[in-house]
Structures are given as C-alpha cells and as structure tokens.
C-alpha cells in the first residue's frame, strides 16, 4: 500500500509561525541526519542546520504564487516555501511518494505546485534559471517575484555575475539571496571573495545590503523591502545573509574529521543560534508547545517515508522525456 501524505500548510505570518517553521527545518534536518546514519538516506545530505532564519525569513516575505530556486543545501528553502515534510523526507529516502517520485533526492527536491523550481546540484546554477522565470512572469504581466538562494561559493561563479547584469538591465523581479555561511565547502569566504558580496551586486546597480542571517525577523524585514521593490517593477535586489552551518558541508564530512574550522568558531556561532533567539520573543511555554507539535509531525513524516515503497525499477527511465520517448536499453540480447 502506498500511503498518502496528509495536507500540509505552513503559515509564516506571525513570529510564532516563523519559529515553528525554523523548528520544522531544524527537526527535519536532525531526523535526516539520523536516517543518513541508519542508511535509509543514500548518498548523504548537506545539512541546513544553523541557517534556518534565512530560508524562513525570506519565504515569510513571499506570496504563495512566488517562485524560488534553491541549492545543494536546499532542505530549508523547500520546507519554508511550504513543501510537505512527509513527501520531502520520502524523497530523501528515495521513495515513490517523494516530491520528485524518488528521482531527485536531496539535491534536486522540487515542488512546482508551490513555486519551488528545484534545488540544484551545481553551485550558482539556480540564479539564472530564477532570472529566466522572472523574465517570463514579468513579460506575461504577472507580479510574481522570484527568489534565487545561493551561497558565498556561488559569488565566484561567472554565470551568477552574468545574471546580475541581465537582471539589472532588464529590471527583473528577482531577489538574490546570498547565504554567506563563511565557507565554500572548506574554503573560507574571507580569502576567496575579492571586494565583498554586496559590492559585487552594487557594481551592477543592484541595491544590496548585508543582514544578520541568524535573526529571522531581520531577514524578513530586509527581504520584505526587496520583494516589494521587485513586485513594483523596480528590479532586482541583493541580500547577503551572514550565517553559519553548524554541521559540516556534507554528512560525509563527519567521518573525515576535517580541521578547517576551529571548535571555538563553531561554538561561537552556536551561541547565536536563531531558534532560541526567536523562542525568547514568544509567550512563555509557546516554544515548547510548538516543539512538541513539530516532533509529532516529523515522527509522522518518518513513518510515512519508511512505509512508502521504493519506485519500481521498470520505471527507471520514466520522465526522461516529456513525450514518453523510451531510450534504448543498455544491452540488446
């Protein structure tokens, strides 16, 4: 029996909603780490833990009909834009009930019905796709805003700089969100980005600001202004969100015991954890109630994912072509 995921809706309007969304992302990632260790999730993941305030703050500034493109570290964006945690977890586990029917996994999770045009395995690749969607939406007379999430590593991809130029000359309704977590895999951004992130965007005439990416409300405030500007037809904006990933670049890193970050540095950023900060602003006891609810939701998501069947191998080439063209098999006997 293939289970059906329950309806899912993630409000982001109130501070408590946003705390709940951050807890959802955090809890989802913690559970996903467990499932990687258990061997349920193949390959591994790029955990979003520590960066929750960025995805939730930005998505809180968006409408349902707005679009996003995401990254290899994309679980937070996908969940904050409203994807079902049940179907997201099933996707990570390679199940037929997953968002992508088990064809995409962690790095390609997408839900077009929610405006999630996909995570992307190539750094910087989502930004020009976002710009193209923004071009199409604007030329169709719609006021859709398209957000491109990317990391500091993408600042050194030429295609991103090309995209800044195209978005600026065509005044496209794009919000560029740079999650500067300090490292492109293991390479410190400090020694890899000449001139600085916001300076690069400003060189193209794109309004740019740096915001505390560990503060969901600050991210929301900055994003709201940029989204309003884009929706009014005034063109793209750029946000550099200073943040940090508490985990390694990838789950494989746990086994490698790399020394590119000091324990003190990680501990220092953990003290700036966006979740306790958001919890402190809520009514006493509210955060605990929310945490309990999310715990139950994620337990249900786990049950759903594990109860879902793997895809039938006869369909391994399904969806390769939109017209159903069947590729030749690898052997003919």
């Amino acid at each position: 029996m293939t289970p059906t995921a329950p309806p899912h809706h993630l409000p982001l309007a109130e501070p408590a909603d946003r705390y709940r969304a951050m807890r959802l992302v955090r809890g989802f990632e913690e559970q996903a780490l467990d499932l990687v260790r258990e061997g349920v999730i193949a390959g591994g993941i790029h955990p979003y833990i520590g960066q929750e305030a960025v995805a939730v703050g930005v998505c809180a500034a968006l409408r349902d009909g707005d679009l996003i493109t995401s990254t290899h570290r994309g679980h937070g964006h996908v969940l904050a834009k409203g994807a079902s945690p049940h179907r997201m977890l099933a996707e990570l586990a390679g199940r037929v009930t997953g968002l992508n029917r088990g064809r995409g996994g962690s790095m390609h999770a997408a839900d077009f019905s929610l405006g999630i045009l996909g995570a992307n395995g190539i750094v910087g690749a989502g930004a020009p796709i976002a710009a193209g969607a923004a071009w199409a939406e604007a030329r169709a007379g719609r006021d859709t805003v398209v957000t491109a999430f990317f990391g500091d590593g993408a600042l050194n991809q030429g295609v991103l700089l090309e995209t800044f130029n195209l978005a600026a000359i065509w005044r496209l309704p794009v919000l560029f969100v740079c999650e500067n977590n300090g490292y492109a895999t293991t390479l410190p951004a400090a020694g890899a980005v000449a001139g600085g992130a916001v300076e690069r965007a400003r060189a193209f005439g794109i309004p740019a600001q740096t915001v505390d990416g560990m503060d969901c409300e600050a991210v929301l405030a900055a994003a709201a202004g940029a989204v309003e500007r884009a929706r009014a037809g005034d063109g793209p904006s750029f946000l550099e969100c200073r943040t940090y990933r508490f985990e390694g670049h990838h789950t494989m890193e746990r086994r490698l015991k790399l020394g590119y970050r000091t324990a003190e540095e990680v501990a220092g950023w953990r003290e700036r954890d966006p979740l306790p900060r958001a919890a402190a602003a809520l009514d006493p006891g509210e955060a605990d109630r929310i945490d309990a609810g999310i715990g139950q939701l994620l337990a249900d998501a786990r049950t759903f994912a594990l109860a879902s069947p793997a895809p039938d191998i006869s369909g391994a080439c399904d969806y390769l072509y939109a017209d159903g063209l069947r590729p030749r098999a690898g052997v003919t006997l």
Binding site: G102, H108, A110, I122, V159, C317, A322
Partner: protein, 320 residues
C-alpha cells in the same frame, strides 16, 4: 517559381512559430539585427519582448531560457558559433536535459537551441568549426541536423513544438542550399529518416551537408553500384527502423559523418547495425580524424573533412 533558401526556411519556421504561439520567444546575440540570418526581420515583426537581444553572456541567457521554459514559455536560443555549445554544455546537458527526470516529471523544458553555421565555415579556424552533434546525442538530448531547406523548416518547427530540449544544427555547408518547394512547408517529425535516394547494393547514412555529397557520389557510381542514401535527419532519437529496412535489402553500410571519429555518430550507427541488423560485409565510416581541430589554412581545413573521394573509396571497400 522561387527557390527556398535554407536560411529563409529557418527564418520562416521561426516566424510561423512566433505567430502561432504566444509562448514562443527568441533569445540570442544579434537576433534583433538578424546577423546570422534565421532571425532577420523578426524583432520588427514581433517586438523586443519576443525576440530578445542578449548581451554576450551565453551561459546566463541559455539558463534564463530554461527558467522561462519552467515558467511556461517555449524559448528558442540562437547560438551563432557551434563552439558556444561547449560553453553552455552545463546548461544544456546538466540542467535543461535533466530537469524532467530529476523532478519526477513535474516539469519539462521545451527549449530549442538553434546553431546556424555549424561545422566548418571555411577559414574560421579552430574555435568556429566544430560539429559536436554526437555529444548531445550521447547525453540524450534530441538533436537534428537538417540537410535541405524544407527539412530545415520542418525540423525546426517540430523542435519548437517539442516539449523537450532540442538542438538544431544548421550546417554552414548546407545553408547555401536552395530548393524548389512546390508544396506547403510543414513540420517534419523528429526521429524519422528520409530515403534521399533508393538503391539496392549499399546503404549510405548521411546527415546534414554530406547528404548532398553522398547523392552526388551515388549518381556518379550509378552505372556500377546502386547506392541508397539515407538522410538520418535526426541524430537522437535515431530512426533505427528505417536503417534496418534498408540493410535488409543492401546488407552493406557506409556512414559519412562530418564530426570527429571516436565515439561519434558514425560509430554508433555502425555498432548498432553490427549488433542488431543484417550486414554481409564489414561496415565503413568516413569522418573527421580522431580529435580533429580544424586548422586555419583552407587546404588543411578541407583535408580533415570527409569528402567525396573518401566516400567513394569506402563504398567500393564494402562492395568487395
């Protein structure tokens, strides 16, 4: 009666598609001016929002076309130089082609990439003379190489209507071809070969400009050898059924392929024929050399492209 030129056929296919379907749009360098030919006059007719002149940012505007496709458009991207396909291979092979499968069929990418002037342009040297259609077949992208003006119209029309990415190579050596067209131009389905000349002794598979060379060789050999010329039209998906039917009669195969030898189009056609079809003699191919980079001097440029003398020799060899 006027003769239809290859370039005019591409121009008409684009114009008809833009007129018939609001979602069709064109991105490319100098498409407003119509520098390469196929877009001439289209911006004046359809406006700058449908025919979009882009800065020299191929990777970004090919990706933008993908994004526009995800948002419901049916974009055509013109790349004026075949080597720009190498620059945008990431966008075409790794993004456009893979999104349908990776999203579990949530989306498709109806992107057409038109490359006017592929292959050698005689005298444009190493970085403007490649013919990398086999690369795209290898990664699985639908790829066509029309030989005639009516096929240029028909295959481009079908490419634009297709819901998957399609690369359309318009060989420089074919773009000068003109054709008496007495019928209404119409779409030519992807994946269907054309018997350009019927014959009984040997099957020559050709693609793009070499189709015309193969027809001339067939005519010349007609007194002694009956040559069937199959214009493959589409590299991927290849029309294996038509090839198989032809080989049932001839049992002999020569493939002429204006691209590099190793792992190329000709190699795939010969391998499949050897595995699955009736061959009474070892097949031959006529191609550019392994890993060829066309040198500048015209004598050297021409020396590396397959020619009539080589094709004639290969046909005689399989007839032994």
């Amino acid at each position: 009666m006027s003769k239809l030129s290859y370039t005019k056929a591409l121009n008409r296919a684009l114009g008809d598609a833009l007129a018939a379907d609001e979602s069709v749009c064109v991105f490319g360098e100098d498409v407003g001016a119509g520098l390469a030919g196929p877009t001439l006059g289209l911006q004046a007719r359809f406006g700058t929002d449908r025919v979009v002149d882009t800065p020299l940012s191929e990777q970004a505007f090919v990706s933008m076309a993908i994004g526009a496709a995800l948002a419901g458009r049916r974009p055509v991207v013109e790349l004026q130089i075949p080597s720009l396909l190498f620059l945008t291979f990431e966008q075409l092979a790794n993004q456009a082609h893979k999104l349908s499968l990776m999203t579990g069929g949530q989306t498709s990418v109806p992107l057409t990439c038109l490359v006017p002037g592929s292959g050698s342009r005689e005298g444009w040297a190493g970085q403007h003379s490649d013919h990398p259609y086999s690369l795209f077949a290898h990664v699985g992208i639908k790829t066509v190489v029309p030989a005639t003006p009516s096929d240029a119209y028909g295959l481009l029309a079908s490419a634009i209507r297709d819901d998957d990415p399609v690369i359309v190579f318009a060989p420089a050596a074919a773009m000068g071809v003109r054709q008496d067209v007495t019928w209404d131009l119409e779409p030519v389905p992807l994946g269907r070969a054309r018997i350009a000349r019927q014959g009984d002794d040997v099957t020559v598979v050709a693609l793009g400009a070499p189709v015309h060379g193969a027809l001339a060789v067939a005519e010349e050999l007609a007194p002694e050898i009956s040559v069937e010329v199959v214009d493959a039209r589409t590299v991927h998906p290849f029309d294996w059924a038509t090839l198989s039917r032809s080989l049932e009669r001839t049992g002999r195969l020569v493939v002429i392929d204006d691209s590099n030898r190793a792992c190329g189009f000709a190699a795939e056609v010969m391998a499949t024929a050897a595995e699955e079809m009736r061959l009474t003699a070892p097949p031959r191919r006529v191609t550019r050399p392994d890993g060829a980079v066309l040198p500048f001097a015209l004598e050297l440029d021409r020396a590396l492209q397959p020619d009539a003398r080589q094709l004639t020799g290969a046909i005689r060899a399989v007839m032994k």
